[in-house]
């Protein structure tokens, strides 16, 4: 990918109007924000595309909204849009595809109309099969158990605990349940299944099985993004993402503690 941005020539490339570009970019930024991109990435991508078409962009990134203004070079004409972020859930795949799209535009490989079509296709791309995600998340969490020193029986317990907890999470989110309640329920049932090792004496490392049975629920991406946003000076976004992650972690902890108390296992 070129670090230099190619400039379109009017004869070869369709030059969008300020309004057209603003609509496209606001949608693009809302898509990036929705799929879990950091503020610095959103700013860079938007600037890259707008500069290619010969416009200046100014943007405010709020926790769930994008406020974008596109100016012409002379600053005599502008267009502003406030767009709510897309509710797509965190998706590395979409994040990568949208970033790649910005480079393809900046390198002059695709025109504006083609980019609009491609972006629409990316927004509506269905995510990976949920059952595959369920299986892979369970395998990953069982591997975590092994990394922390758990034996193979504990790995099996963690696999089942994750499988059940993650399935509960998927079906409850499908049914439109509140995400905090979903985290509580998933953590509760995963911890109860994870506690089976302690209660029935399965394996030699039941405490590791219990500890790692809820690891899949830790909201790692919001935590990492909040630090990235803070370093970049986007304090409102950083604080919002951090609080969101804290609330989810609190729900997870409440579910875990509930499971432990019910099983007669002390927290401390």
């Amino acid at each position: 990918m070129n670090s230099m941005i190619c400039k379109p020539t009017e004869s070869s490339v369709y030059l969008p109007s300020i309004k057209e570009l603003c609509i496209f970019l606001s949608d693009y930024a809302a898509g990036l924000l929705g799929c879990g991109a950091t503020c610095i990435r959103i700013e860079k991508n938007i600037t890259r595309i707008s500069l290619f078409f010969g416009y200046d962009s100014e943007m405010t990134i709020m926790p769930s909204h994008i406020h974008l203004t596109i100016w012409n070079k002379e600053h005599t004409d502008s267009y502003s849009i406030i767009r709510r972020m897309h509710k797509t859930g965190i998706s590395f795949d979409m994040n990568t595809k949208l970033s790649k799209l910005s480079w393809e535009i900046a390198d002059g490989k695709i025109g504006f109309q083609e980019a609009t079509l491609l972006a629409e296709r990316i927004y509506h791309t269905s995510s990976v099969n949920p059952r595959v995600v369920l299986f892979l998340a369970s395998c990953a969490n069982a591997s975590f158990c092994r990394l922390f020193g758990g034996d193979f029986i504990s790995m099996g317990v963690v696999f089942i605990a994750t499988l059940v907890g993650y399935y509960i999470k998927q079906i409850m989110l499908e049914d439109g349940a509140d995400v905090r309640f979903v985290f509580f329920c998933s953590a509760f049932f995963s911890s109860v299944i994870g506690a089976g090792g302690h209660i029935f004496g399965w394996g030699t490392t039941p405490e590791i099985a219990l500890g790692t049975s809820v690891l899949y629920l830790i909201p790692g991406i919001p935590y990492i993004n909040s630090v990235s946003d803070m370093l970049d000076g986007h304090y409102i976004c950083a604080f919002s993402r951090f609080m969101n992650a804290i609330v989810l972690t609190a729900c997870l902890s409440t579910g875990l503690c509930g499971g432990l108390f019910l099983m007669g296992l002390g927290c401390f």
């Binding site: 059940v164 079906i171 049932f189 109860v192 506690a195 209660i199 019910l262 099983m263 007669g264």
Partner: protein, 62 residues
């Protein structure tokens, strides 16, 4: 069986039952049209007698 074992077994049984009921419900929805025991209908539906003319658009010429 100790108390934690019984509690554990009950929680797992409840969970399994919830999954089974969900599967049954899903299967029922797939095979049969959803029917309600109590429904909200219109006046016309309440006073409809077999053989009546079905004129639904009362305000056609308005």
């Amino acid at each position: 069986m100790s108390e934690p074992m019984i509690v554990w077994a009950i929680i797992i049984a409840v969970l399994v039952l919830a999954f089974v009921f969900r599967v049954i419900e899903k299967f029922r929805k797939m095979t049969k049209r959803k029917s309600h025991i109590i429904e909200c209908g219109t006046e016309k539906e309440m006073f409809f007698c077999p053989g009546d003319k079905r004129i639904w658009d009362e305000f056609d010429d308005m």
